[in-house]
Amino acid sequence: MPNNQKQIPTDNYFSLLALPVSFNIDRKALNNNYHEVQKSIHPDNYANGSALERRLSVQKAAQVNDALETLKDPLKRSIYLLLLHGIELNEKDNKMDPMFLMEQMELREKLSQLESFDDPLVVLDEIIDDVNSRIKELVTELENLFQKILSDKSNSEVEKLLEQVKSQVLKMQFLNRLQEECLNREEDLANQY
């Protein structure tokens, strides 16, 4: 019985939910383990407990909820993995690939002129598809990068690879914001109709 004796450290979200530190997440295991932990510590189990127990269980449940939310989303997971490697994203470092910025501006412009198209919803769908496929590509790239980083700790390239992750993460943040905006527009259009 491997690992049963091992005290599971609670100092990172992966170990909290008994998952290996990795970019690839077994969604089924994540959900399963999350449910098991919540079943054991959720405040509802302590409705008759002392104030102290209730407070502790609220804190713990909040932490576990945060772990789930961080690990299930590729962007948040990437940022968290960077953090575990001692890299904090700063609002100031947004050096961007000019090509990427150019594409972004084009997409945003198209989005702002939606109303001038005959069928704005069709154009919007195209933009959303485009954004989604870019996000997918980025996820694949992040997957490869993290695999290299995590498989070989002694790798002298780690620093460089982490920098690459950082620039991809910044792009992903951009795309996520754009995606959110597209969806808001979609809602506005649906409301008008």
């Binding site: 599971i8 104030a51 502790l56 809602e187």
Partner: protein, 629 residues
């Protein structure tokens, strides 16, 4: 080991005694109360065998009571009947006004709203005096409480009250305040669609993703839930707190008034027109056409027909509004309509055929209408109350709920910075860092808002407080960490801390349109005959109950885990503390008990922490991965 013996009125202190817990559906149009008896959840009828209590309160001129804060009221069926003749003193659909300011209250209300000095809560002028929406709701809750106590033969240990998922913090707090005034111990507020899903899910045992479409008298909610192995996980929710069957009535009423050329109706005529409209709507659920009569002054009566087709044309836009919310809920849950197992219709307004038809088309699924849409919410609430009060249940049920609206702060330029996004599972704690805008700035105003929009003015203001005593620094050098915490009840607290100096400030969010603690205290006091004595006695009793709870919890924890997790000395120290608490709790000194509880908490904090960690380890034993790299 000695067990603390404290008896509460009507309640035995024997362990595992079945405690009386109820669920309350405090609806816009009707309210219900339900409980679990020998494993079966059922609604409780009144002395006439009626389950539905109309949410209508008539305030009568005060003749008997010499106390200005106890009202003479008629609640329920009789009040509903009296409404036509006494429209201004009979409050209908009060739920629409809960937690609302004067500006929010729709202009077509028949009531006379007034502002009272020293209070932000609007009052309705009635024959019995000026009453707030909270007090009106409390009258409904009191009636339900009596109904339940009579039927169950005892005092209620706790209640779960349902609210629309889309209720904001102010509306939730107002509901809690009403319960407090009615003398109810609220275990939890839960969302109506969640309660419906619990009742439905436990009933059928169907695993998978369920959509609850809940269109009531005054509110609309859509919730998407996943049920797997006894866990109800709310994935997303959306809705509109001022859209419901009442609006259907309004649409018909408008049509009637313009057809009948009524331009300036008095309150009684307005009431008559609305009642006619409602009747017409109900008739059109089963007929293709209905006739309408209005009695106008001077015997100029008006008569007409309304066809189903005409009615549906009027409704179309309103129903479509609900579908926009459905689309958003799907998006937030990150699922497709094809992932959905079933769509459950809840709320009286889903009886309207057009609603069923349009919802069915939207989800490409025949919506389920076979459960009693009126009772299902109260029954789900009763189930959850039974769990929370600690009655042993066979099913192992856990509800993971979410916060329906985003919470954030005002930043420069009147913009909102979201700290907790909508549809985040609760409890949750999130922190965000801010900095100063000016050189030498020593204070920072924290403005907490709720809502999805970017502009502060479009969001609901929840609270304001200030962080003072920031050491003077250049602009942008201070690091102010603002932490939002939402507990399992969905209630928010916010704290701010300047990291370099450690200056702190925090607030338990009291909504801007809520009654102040003082106002509540005054209302409570006034409702007792011997105000101060009763309050002191109540406080002592509450503290004794908490002491009992602490002792019982710790004793059972020690029995389970003392050997595994504590040294002999540590265990002895905790036992010593428990014995002292038992001693003190037998006395009548409320403060001393409180202090002792704090001491016990301190002595056992480490033990509780170890137990929590051990419980996670046990939960994950066998799930853990072979090699954590």
């Amino acid at each position: 080991m000695a067990l603390l013996q404290i008896s509460e009125p009507g309640q035995s202190s024997a362990p595992h005694q079945h405690k009386l817990a109820v669920g309350i559906d405090l609806g816009t149009t009707n309210s219900l109360i339900a409980t679990v008896r020998s494993g079966l959840a059922e609604t409780i009828a009144d002395e006439n065998g009626q389950h539905l209590l109309p949410s209508v309160v008539q305030f009568l001129p005060d003749t008997l009571s010499d106390n200005e804060n106890t009202y003479q009221t008629e609640v329920g069926h009789q009040a509903k009947t009296n409404a036509v003749n006494d429209p201004l003193n009979t409050i209908i659909s009060v739920k629409r006004y809960m937690g609302r300011g004067l500006d929010d209250i729709a202009e077509h209300s028949v009531y006379r709203f007034i502002e009272e000095e020293g209070s932000v809560v609007p009052r309705i002028h009635t024959a019995a005096g000026n009453v707030s929406a909270v007090e009106v709701s409390a009258e409904i809750l009191k009636k339900l409480k009596i109904q339940a106590c009579n039927a169950l033969g005892g005092e209620l240990t706790g209640v779960v009250i349902t609210v629309p998922a889309y209720f904001d913090d102010a509306q939730r707090q107002a509901t809690k305040d009403a319960a407090k005034l009615a003398g109810l111990n609220v275990l939890r507020l839960i969302n109506e669609p969640t309660a419906a899903a619990v009742a439905y899910g436990l009933d059928t045992g169907n695993e998978g993703i369920h959509v609850i479409y809940d269109l009531g008298g005054g509110t609309f909610d859509i919730s998407i839930l996943k049920l797997s192995k006894g866990i109800f996980e709310v994935l997303s929710t959306a809705g509109n707190t001022s859209l419901g069957g009442d609006d259907f009535d309004q649409v018909i009423a408008h049509w009637m008034m313009s057809e009948a050329q009524i331009t300036d109706p008095d309150a009684a005529l307005q009431r008559q027109v609305l009642d006619c409209a409602r009747q017409a709507k109900e008739n059109l659920s089963s007929q293709d056409c209905t006739s309408i009569h209005i009695e106008l002054p001077a015997d100029k009566n008006w008569h007409s027909e309304l066809s189903l087709q005409q009615f549906e044309k009027m409704l179309n836009a309103l129903v479509r509004k609900t579908l926009v919310s459905c689309r958003r809920a799907l998006r937030d849950a990150d699922i497709e309509t094809s992932d959905i197992q079933d769509v459950v219709m809840v709320g009286g307004s889903t009886r309207v055929p057009l609603v069923r038809q349009m919802v069915g088309e939207f989800f490409s699924l025949e919506p389920l209408v076979n459960i009693d849409p009126d009772k299902v919410v109260a029954i789900g609430a009763a189930r959850q109350a039974d769990v929370l009060v600690g009655n042993k249940t066979d099913e192992d049920m856990l509800l993971l709920d979410i916060t329906p609206l985003s919470l954030g702060l005002e930043t420069m330029g009147g913009l909102t910075e979201k700290v907790i996004h909508r549809n985040t599972t609760i409890p949750v704690a999130r922190a965000q860092e801010f900095t100063t805008f000016k050189d030498g700035q020593t204070a920072m105003a924290i403005h907490v808002v709720q809502g999805e929009r970017e502009l502060i003015s479009d969001c609901r203001s929840l609270a304001r407080f200030e962080l003072r005593g920031i050491p003077p620094m250049v602009a942008g050098a201070a690091r102010i960490r603002v932490t939002f915490q939402i507990d399992a009840d969905g209630l928010l607290s916010v704290s701010a801390r300047e990291e370099t100096s450690g200056v702190e400030s925090s607030i338990q969010v009291k909504p801007s349109f809520g009654l102040s603690d003082n106002e509540i205290e005054t209302m409570l006091k006034d409702s007792f005959s011997h105000a101060q004595d009763d309050i002191d006695a109540r406080k002592l009793r509450e503290e004794q109950v908490e002491a009992k709870r602490v002792v019982e919890a710790l004793n059972s924890a020690l029995a389970e885990d003392a050997q595994k997790l504590l040294s002999t000395d540590e265990a002895a120290e905790i036992r010593q503390c428990i014995d002292e608490l038992i001693q003190v709790a037998q006395g009548a000194d409320q403060r001393a008990i409180k202090l002792k509880i704090e001491q016990v908490d301190k002595a056992s904090a480490e033990f509780a922490q170890r137990r929590m960690d051990a419980s996670i380890n046990t939960a994950l034993a066998g799930h853990s991965v072979d090699d954590i790299s």
